[in-house]
């Protein structure tokens, strides 16, 4: 599915979490989204998933704006978030059966059982999901996102909690999805692990798209240098934390008060 973000903005309580982000992902393409903490990566993913409304701009899926798609759009999206979205007291299988039914997957139980095997969780299939290790929960969350055969995968830190063996498993899985024509947007703080699977990389900085590039044209180490420069641009060191803080506060206060405002 073709995903098109046009000047997507999200402002909450006066803060600009996303600032006019524009990018697009073709079918079969994988986009790596990276950036420091608080850059807005998770927010962007949630906006794309239809969980948070954008305050500005729009997102087009196959040329149609999200608002015109309605709820049916979500059947084409497979989402993995930071949170597991799992019900601790339900078994592994039941969690998948629930998700399958929720998404209208035909023959839900058969499909769920199939996914249990795909994630290598057969031995713990009847265990309450809360008893699983971090890595197992992550695998469960990942296969759950694939139950309904989505055309777009939105993955927030999919490699988190996975050891080397299961990281490789995920990489293979993503390659298979790519071959099927699925568009993948994945957020990875540890971008090096995800670098090999990505076609393009986008760097988000304070809600803004700072860089968008083809991974094929960049050597990972060279990108690492560039990335570091983006995160920590050269800037004169403050005399001390208090000096910088006071200066910053004064600047903000004088900028915040409109003309004619009197008072303490």
């Amino acid at each position: 599915m073709h995903v098109d973000l046009r000047a997507v903005t999200r402002r909450v309580d006066g803060r600009r979490l996303l600032d006019a982000v524009t990018l697009s992902v073709e079918p079969g393409q994988t986009l790596l989204l990276c950036g420091p903490n608080g850059a807005g990566k998770s927010t962007l993913l949630k906006v794309m998933a239809g969980l948070l409304p954008p305050t500005g701009g729009e997102i087009l899926y196959d040329g149609r704006p999200a608002s015109r798609w309605g709820p049916a759009l979500r059947r084409r999206l497979g989402v993995v978030l930071h949170e597991t979205l799992l019900y601790d007291e339900l078994t592994v299988v039941d969690n998948l059966v629930f998700a399958a039914r929720l998404f209208g997957v035909p023959d839900a139980r058969r499909r769920a059982e199939g996914m249990v095997d795909a994630a290598g969780l057969r031995l713990v299939a009847r265990e309450p999901a809360g008893r699983l290790s971090r890595g197992m929960k992550q695998r469960l969350a990942l296969v759950r996102a694939l139950l309904h055969r989505p055309s777009v995968l939105l993955l927030d830190e999919p490699y988190a909690g996975l050891d080397a063996r299961w990281s490789a498993w995920l990489t293979d899985l993503l390659a298979a999805e790519r071959a099927r024509g699925t568009s993948v947007i994945l957020v990875a703080h540890e971008w090096r692990t995800a670098w090999p699977v990505a076609d393009r990389a986008a760097v988000l900085l304070r809600g803004r798209l700072a860089r968008l590039l083809d991974t094929a044209a960049w050597d990972p180490d060279r990108f690492g240098g560039e990335y570091g420069r983006l995160l920590h641009p050269e800037r004169p060191q403050a005399a001390g934390p208090s000096g910088a803080a006071v200066g910053a506060t004064a600047a903000v206060l004088s900028a915040g008060a409109p003309e004619g405002e009197s008072g303490p």
Binding site: V12, D13, A245, T249, G256, E261
Partner: protein
């Protein structure tokens, strides 16, 4: 985020300037000009402030209802500010209504409380709008606070007619003859009393408007402070 600061203050001052003499005038009418009630005497005069408060309580909550709907549809912070202010003022007038109603009951029937349908409804409303303020206090973030409070405000006001009917039927199908407002007393009111009542209602409505204007202005100011605080925090963080 632009938040108007000077205009509400001016409006508020103007309203206060009109309301203050209006209240004085209403007091004169209620306490001196209006004739004594036949059977109850002077104590009946509390009726004027009681009716005025009750009317304004309901008006304030109507404002909460309308601005809540408006906020859900338009998401303008100004609407939320008015809703919050109106709720507080509504509670103020509700308390006044309950208190004056209670004094009335003590004076006329020698009980501090009566389960008269209107008083009962007012009491339930009091609880509902305290709950509304609790929702506002417990919500994190302005957006969430505005949205959840709006939902609750709509649900609360929608219940009011049902509460009123329940309270009316609760004490028997027919209205109590000893009801002190509506029905018999109102129809028997001297024209001077009717006029006084209307003046009292009008004066208190002006007070309502003035309070609302001041409170909304205060709300805007506190939001600006919160905004500036947030900006400072962000600057210091980075």
């Amino acid at each position: 985020m632009t938040v108007p600061t000077t205009r509400p203050k001016k409006t508020a001052a103007v309203l206060l300037a009109i309301a203050a003499p209006a209240v004085v005038f209403a007091m004169y009418m209620a306490l001196i000009w209006a004739p004594d009630e036949r059977t109850l005497g002077t104590v009946q005069r509390i009726f004027y402030i009681h009716v005025g408060s009750a009317w304004n309580a309901y008006l304030a909550f109507l404002i909460v209802f309308v601005t809540s709907i408006g906020y859900l549809l338009r998401r303008r912070p100004a609407l939320d500010a008015v809703a919050a202010s109106a709720a507080e003022i509504g509670i103020l007038f509700t308390t006044l209504t309950l208190a004056t109603g209670s004094f009335w009951a003590r004076a006329v029937w020698n009980v501090w409380w009566t389960w008269d349908p209107r008083l009962t409804t007012t009491l339930i409303m009091w609880f509902m709008y305290i709950a509304y303020l609790l929702v506002r206090a417990a919500a994190e973030g302005e957006e969430r606070r505005g949205r959840l409070a709006a939902v609750f405000g709509i649900a609360a006001f929608a219940t009011v007619p049902l509460v009123h009917f329940s309270a009316t039927w609760w004490r028997g199908m027919h209205p109590n003859i000893v009801q002190f407002q509506g029905g018999t007393p109102r129809m028997n009111m001297d024209p001077e009393m009717i006029v006084t009542m209307l003046v009292a209602v009008a004066a208190l409505t002006l007070v309502n408007a003035a309070l609302l204007a001041y409170r909304v202005d205060l709300e805007h100011l506190s939001r600006r402070v919160a905004l500036l605080r947030e900006r400072v925090r962000l600057e210091v963080e980075s």
